[in-house]
């Protein structure tokens, strides 16, 4: 103990730190202080948790769109403890907001904002707004679909602000879409600007609390007590319970990471983080020109009112039992919030896509493959279901009536499937739409070849310095298919090709995966060892194909084709695809 004492004495003599700490800890607090005043300390604790876990995440996070998603996925799937750290940060954010709001409610109910504590209250409201800003900016950073679409809505709401709208939008780096600039600004706000601002404001807030002393109950005349150790003990109990809850949440509840942000996803229903859902729901009550009222005016008035509460309610402190109006107000607000949030949860349909945390790309949803011919195919074979196709269904189709996908080779079509599955549309959304990546139909001539494209897929930034495109982690054969697809794209066919029906793209992928082209030809691509498969639907039906796959020699005398045992999904896809193949020219 001696040496420690010596060090402390040395430090105390040089810096006065021991006295400072003692002055802080042995502050007098009213006898009426107690459990209800532990929430402020808990809020500070949660801020510290966010700083620590945020810094840890930043150690393995790449702050650019595309790369951001890959690095978060890396944290979630490849780093030991990564999901836990992200869980602490994610759930810690929600819990911090709850704690901050509870702290405010406590101060409000007790009327602790009254003279001379108005400034303390206003700094507190600012801290609440900053906490919300943390949530809003952090929401974008994983750059998944949820993040992207949530932020699109946020920036659009900001743009509705009267007069300031366009400037707000400019400030958020958005011209109606969300891309590189918005991402960087949100990242800078979240990690560079807001944290030190929060630290400074917490410092001012605590300074003001100390300056005016903890607010005592109006009838409290008992002798004062010390902050340490009794109140600190109570604070610590609160902190410890909250931490245990947070830790359990982080271990048990999986933090979602959906698929890569996809600006072309027309089915995605954006929604904000749960604590913004009430605003999301409020918006629905205001239609047309009144929308601004719900999106900007009401929240603006609410925030302003919150700031001005100490000037609205100016009477002397009274006992909490007599503050029925304040308590009623809080209860009404809580009921309204709960109602709006519940309504938002109930009325917003769930997104089809579930979180995709695994390595394997999400397969097409089962129902996507079930409906037989897609619209284009249906026009090609009006009366036919692929199962019982009359032999002349395809032959009647003139070349001009072929669906765009029917003009593609299996390789190109498999490429279209990969294009969808890999989320390429996220950055290359297609004709007429602005994406992060270049328009694939307008690639410079020197890039329009497989020899350039494949290495580029593998390592984008090596071929195009500064490219934000994430590497495409696929075997060479697949990269080849992807490149072949890109080469077929023209402004006229792009839309149709990229929206090729799932059975076709999946069927082609099964075809490619099983190297059917080693013996068969489609569109003059492949070997002629076996029969060409163009227009095979004219010769055979679904039942025949299935039987033939299972036992080729049994169905066709002398066939040297090996039997193929596909899983039901693959079998369905390849049969539908083959049966829809048009007759060769």
């Amino acid at each position: 103990m001696r040496p420690i004492r010596t060090v402390i004495d040395w430090l105390e003599h040089r810096t006065g730190i021991e006295t400072a700490v003692k002055n802080f800890l042995y502050e007098d607090i009213p006898a009426s202080a107690g459990w209800h005043q532990i929430i402020g300390s808990m809020a500070v604790f949660f801020f510290v948790i966010q700083v620590v876990t945020g810094a840890l995440l930043a150690f393995n996070y790449a702050p650019t769109p595309g790369e951001a998603y890959n690095s978060v996925k890396y944290i979630m799937t490849e780093l030991t403890g990564g999901p836990l750290i992200r869980g602490l940060h994610h759930w810690g954010a929600s819990m911090m907001l709850i704690i901050v709001v509870l702290h405010m409610i406590q101060v409000f109910i007790y009327g602790a904002y009254k003279k001379p504590r108005e400034a303390t209250w206003m700094v507190g409201v600012t801290l609440l707004l900053i906490t919300l800003a943390f949530g809003l900016t952090g929401y974008l950073l994983p750059w998944d679909n949820r993040a992207y679409w949530g932020t699109v809505v946020t920036t659009q709401i900001a743009s509705q602000a009267p007069i300031a709208g366009p400037y707000m939008l400019r400030l958020l780096g958005s011209d109606g879409s969300v891309g590189n600039v918005t991402f960087s600004r949100f990242y800078a706000l979240h990690t560079v600007l807001l944290p030190p601002l929060t630290i400074i404001l917490i410092g001012i807030h605590i300074y003001l609390v100390r300056k005016h002393g903890v607010a005592a109950a109006p009838d409290d005349t008992a002798p004062k007590r010390k902050f340490f150790p009794e109140q600190v003990f109570k604070d610590t109990v609160g902190v410890a319970i909250a931490f245990v809850v947070l830790f359990i949440m982080a271990v048990v509840a999986k933090v979602p990471l959906e698929r890569l942000a996809d600006p072309t996803d027309t089915a995605y229903i954006p929604r904000p983080e749960w604590y913004f859902l009430f605003l999301f729901q409020t918006l629905k009550f205001f239609k047309g020109p009144l929308e601004t009222v719900g999106s900007v005016v009401l929240p603006g008035v609410a925030v302003l009112t919150l700031f001005l509460i100490p000037f609205i309610d100016r009477g002397p402190m009274i006992r909490i039992g007599k503050r029925t109006f304040a308590i009623t107000l809080v209860l009404l607000a809580a009921i309204a919030w709960t109602g709006l949030t519940t309504a938002a949860v109930v009325t917003t349909p769930k997104n089809q896509e579930s979180a995709e945390d695994t390595e394997t790309p999400a397969n097409e949803t089962p129902e996507a493959t079930a409906p037989a011919p897609a619209p284009e195919a249906a026009t090609a074979a009006p009366s036919a279901s692929p199962e019982s196709k009359p032999p002349d269904a395809v032959s009647a189709v003139a070349p001009a009536q072929l669906a765009a996908w029917q003009r593609l080779t299996p390789q190109e079509l498999a490429g279209a499937g990969l294009f969808k599955r890999q989320g390429c549309m996220g950055c290359h959304p297609g004709p007429g739409q602005k994406g992060i990546g270049p328009d694939l139909t307008k690639l410079p001539a020197e890039h329009r070849n497989v020899a350039w494209l494949v290495p580029h897929f593998k390592n984008p930034s090596q071929m195009v310095p500064g490219s934000v495109m994430p590497p495409v982690d696929l075997p060479d054969a697949n990269l080849n298919e992807l490149a072949l697809l890109v080469l077929t794209l023209t402004p006229r066919n792009e839309q149709a090709l990229l929206s090729a029906p799932d059975f076709a793209t999946q069927g082609a992928m099964v075809y490619q995966k099983n190297h059917c082209d080693a013996c068969h030809q489609i569109k003059a691509v492949g070997s002629t060892l076996g029969p060409a498969l163009d227009g095979v639907g004219l010769r055979h039906n679904r039942a025949w194909l299935e039987k033939h796959f299972a036992d080729p020699a049994g169905v066709t005398q002398g066939s040297i084709m090996p039997p193929y045992k596909f899983n039901p999904e693959d079998l369905d896809a390849i049969c539908k695809y083959l049966l829809q193949l048009p007759k060769g020219a």
Binding site: T80, G81, L84, L88, P223, K226, F233, P470
Partner: protein
């Protein structure tokens, strides 16, 4: 903390036993929280990422084109798992073929501080220009500060073609 009340003499303090309990709880709880954060943080930062399937073996050169007895520098592309990215990087190796087609492939960095060394034909040694480490044709340190022989890639020969794998772990 002998005289906590200095300057605030009006306040009452808790009884010594309670005080001891409070302080013990505060220190214990805060300590546990610290540990509960520090251990996951250390694991997160110090544990290596889960290995990803990279392509470990690279087909490089036709063995018949490598002269026997003379180290030859060959270059090839290998995939490198770089955090969340898989990139293709150019790699080189110094390949030494013996009279019976046995092959050794050295990694191209000096074992001292990682400079690129080269084959010096007159002296028939590998020389590192940075700090004058000299290695024999079989990679042994002849002089200079290098702490261990040249590191090697794993190699295998398939159908007259040299395949290069990941570097061998060194002692």
């Amino acid at each position: 903390m002998d005289q906590p009340n200095r300057g605030h003499s009006t306040a009452v303090d808790v009884s010594p036993t309670r005080r001891k309990f409070y302080i013990g709880f505060i220190n214990g709880a805060m300590g546990l929280i610290g540990v509960a954060l520090a251990i996951p943080a250390a694991i997160y930062l110090l544990f290596p990422p889960k290995p990803r399937k990279g392509q470990d073996w690279v087909k490089t050169a036709d063995l018949s084109k490598i002269p026997a007895g003379t180290p030859t520098e060959i270059s090839f592309e290998r995939t490198r798992v770089d955090g969340w990215k898989v990139t293709n990087v150019k790699a080189t190796a110094w390949v030494v073929k013996g009279p019976y087609n046995e092959v050794v492939a050295f990694t191209p960095q000096c074992t001292h501080l990682g400079c690129a060394y080269h084959w010096d034909t007159p002296s028939r040694t590998f020389i590192c220009p940075c700090h004058n480490s000299v290695f024999s044709i079989d990679g042994k340190v002849l002089s200079g500060p290098a702490p261990r022989p040249l590191d090697r890639y794993m190699t295998k020969i398939e159908g007259g073609r040299l395949d290069i794998g990941p570097p061998e772990p060194h002692a």
